[in-house]
Symmetry: C2
Amino acid sequence: MPYRVGEFAALTGVTVRALQHYDRLGLLTPKRSDSGHRIYVETDRRRVRHILALRAVGMSLQRIGDLLKGSASDLPAALRAQRARLEQSQTGIEEALRILQQATAPEGKGDESLLDRLAAVVEMQDALESMRGYFSDEAWTKWGEPYFHDWPSAAWRALFRDVEASLGVDPGSERALELLERSMALWHADIGSDAALGRAVREGYGRAWQARDRWPRELRRRFREFKIDEIGRFLGAVQMASWRRRGLVHTYTTGFRSTA
Amino acid sequence: MPYRVGEFAALTGVTVRALQHYDRLGLLTPKRSDSGHRIYVETDRRRVRHILALRAVGMSLQRIGDLLKGSASDLPAALRAQRARLEQSQTGIEEALRILQQATAPEGKGDESLLDRLAAVVEMQDALESMRGYFSDEAWTKWGEPYFHDWPSAAWRALFRDVEASLGVDPGSERALELLERSMALWHADIGSDAALGRAVREGYGRAWQARDRWPRELRRRFREFKIDEIGRFLGAVQMASWRRRGLVHTYTTGFRSTA
DNA sequence: GTTGATCCTGACGCAGGGGCAGGATCCACA
DNA sequence: TGTGGATCCTGCCCCTGCGTCAGGATCAAC
């Protein structure tokens, strides 16, 4: 029982134009009559059901063609890959929804327009996304994301301000030591007692800091608020002075590298 | 401080080609130098941040243009609409993932190929989707979806077969009454004692049945397995005979309409 | 033979740009 | 003042998955 395109289209629920399209792409090439009209037969129905099935899970016609033309031996792999693609676009949509939710949250609407709020949230998400690459997955979920989300926290911010005000102070002084101890207390409050996590976070931070000239603008802007380089150098010197006083290091070049 | 396209592109993270595209679409039309080169100024940065923000939540450049050109008074509405669109495509992706999951589930792989399994699942989902429109939301979630998913259940299937075998029997006979009571027991097992739900389900089923010639093929194929019309008419006649025997109705035309 | 329905191919359009080509400009240096 | 390399301009074709004509050929029935 041969069908002409119109019949076959009505039969399968596909439009005539789509069938012609599949023909041109080589997805489904029916026989032709002497005058060139397409002639679909019973086996083509199974073929079109396969095409529709793969299309329904979001596969491109290109890949569908490759799958149906070649052997179907790697079909399971193709389906797994398709699942991965779908999950990826799913997280993309979820992120867009989070952005919308955050931007339209009713808090603090007064000082800037909705568009500016939205832009700020988007740039923040970009910044977070680009930072994630520098950290191990565990370090990021346990520390990076909640930490960077509104970096720096009020406590760190206060500490940075105080350190900046004391940059000229002797690293061996009482005041300097106090600042160092405040920073270590904050670090412990963030990380807890997990030594491996602390190491992972430090490594991630190091990698991120190395690449700080490739950061997105929003992130650079945030870090420009404080003289992070000098703060890090100062706290490093204080640490060093403390170690030396306790006889743990002997020269300036042993066991210590500036954070910058 | 005016910028040329290259600078501005580097500054904003947008490609030169995209900036030219936005210009042509009227999204961001910078000034031009005498020779025709684009000259971006400080205020254009805010504009491009707005464009990127709206694009990041998936809005089309067309709508972005309409929003930025007209007043921003309906921006909240546009964002709500965008959220709805995102949620819609989210459910689409979720459905595709469900399809993939069902088709690649390890059960019963032997009798048909993976592609045929996938096609069957897709067609089933289409059928369910088209049925949902006939039912109220509550009736669908509480009854329609679990019921149609593998319609008919084994118990109904057995009942239908038995009714078909007894279509010639006297509607007032013992055997006919037994079949009617089985059907009412099954109905109660499905619906429970919620009278409003039962009414909603009956209405939805009625609407669906009215439009049964527009059903997708898969659904029609399933229903063709039994002579639903005659089964419904027969059970209706049995019900009627039972009522008449108990003196609840007096004529053939009172208070009863065939299900068909 | 005619006529209305169906079918063919090819071109253009959609969104959001990427890539390339051919030509014009700009900027610094000699 | 010239010149060379970097930058910029426009326009065209490419991608996906078809929809939508347009102009012409073919089919099926009377």
